[in-house]
């Protein structure tokens, strides 16, 4: 009976796994074909990939704020990523945080006067178990209304 229960759980999981791998792969392709994501070119030529809708929603009430777009690897679990939000919430100058598990991004809105130290962000995220691969600082004012969702 127990083994029957296992079979009921495992067989669909393998089938689902196969389907997911194909789905994920096709999503990956879409990622590069600019569907559903924002690719914005920085002044220094660097490109950051963001979920446009998510980003617009995040900055909608953040006029004048500085936005740190932090690329993170190893952020695979909501429960594990909770520590990131808790850590940054305690920091003076942080107004808002968003965690995007699907794209491995953490968005942090700082006040205009806050001094953002990349090393500090890296260390805080490392302390929570994940690794930072890139940090870009944007100003919400310069991004609002640029029509990213229409790109």
């Amino acid at each position: 009976m127990r083994y029957l229960l296992f079979s009921i759980l495992i067989v669909p999981s393998l089938a689902l796994a196969e389907a997911t791998m194909h789905t994920d792969h096709s999503n990956h392709g879409a990622h590069h074909s600019h569907e559903g994501h924002l690719h914005t070119q920085m002044v220094d030529g660097a490109e950051i990939q963001l979920d446009a809708e998510r980003f617009d929603k995040f900055v909608a009430d953040q006029s004048g704020s500085q936005i740190a777009v932090v690329s993170v690897i190893g952020m695979v679990c909501d429960f594990c990523a909770r520590g990131i939000e808790k850590t940054f919430q305690k920091e003076t100058g942080v107004k808002k945080i968003d965690v995007d598990l699907a794209n491995g991004k953490v968005l942090i809105a700082y006040t205009a006067a806050a001094k953002i130290v990349n090393k500090d962000i890296e260390q805080k995220i490392l302390s929570n178990g994940q690794t930072v691969t890139d940090i870009q600082i944007l100003t919400a004012q310069s991004l609002i209304g640029r029509g990213f969702n229409n790109e």
């Binding site: 127990r2 229960l5 296992f6 759980l9 495992i10 999981s13 689902l16 796994a17 997911t20 690897i73 190893g74 695979v76 679990c77 909501d78 429960f79 594990c80 990523a81 909770r82 520590g83 808790k86 968003d98 965690v99 995007d100 598990l101 699907a102 491995g104 490392l126 302390s127 929570n128 178990g129 994940q130 690794t131």
Partner: protein, 170 residues
């Protein structure tokens, strides 16, 4: 974390001064022996690999008992997970004033859907445990849910005894 099965109820609190290690205290109620005691636990991260879509961890874990059967232990825990799949294992050597024995477990699972940050996340898993005292593997399905700072893992083993873990992140 609160844990309960047919042998014991336990509440475990741990603090991580750094991501490399954590210190914890476990308060145990041995139901069959009708005894209470505390275990002090030390967990050290031996290896971690983060990738875009996965995380792999290997830990050393040891515990010292104060009271009860003076049961001390050491062992290893490991896991690999993506947003969709989870594989975990553990091996533990336990020494007590009654006898020495080993425990091992394996756990695999998948998430039937990918929730966004803040959603209710659900996992279906199979857990398999071995205890050298009985030399039997006990395998059973486990369901795991987490939302926000709360995590609940629930399973019923082959003896129809519940295996429950409830964790709160402070």
């Amino acid at each position: 974390m609160v844990f309960s099965n047919e042998m014991r109820d336990a509440a475990y609190y741990h603090y991580s001064p750094s991501y490399k290690y954590s210190l914890g205290i476990e308060l145990v109620d041995e139901k069959k022996a009708m005894k209470n005691h505390a275990n002090f636990r030390y967990t050290y991260l031996l290896n971690r690999k983060n990738t875009q879509n996965s995380q792999r961890n290997l830990y050393f874990q040891s515990s010292l008992s104060a009271g009860g059967n003076d049961e001390n232990s050491y062992g290893f825990l490991g896991d690999w997970e993506t947003r969709r799949y989870f594989i975990g294992f553990g091996a533990q050597k336990l020494k007590s004033n009654l006898r020495d024995y080993d425990k091992q477990f394996f756990q695999i699972g998948f998430s039937p859907y990918l929730g966004d940050y803040g959603d209710l996340h659900s996992w279906l898993m199979i857990k398999s445990k071995h205890d050298s005292r009985t030399d039997k593997w006990n395998s059973y399905p486990v369901i795991k849910f987490f939302k926000g700072d709360y995590l609940l893992e629930f399973g019923v083993d082959e003896n129809n005894e519940p295996d429950i873990h409830f964790t709160i992140r402070f």
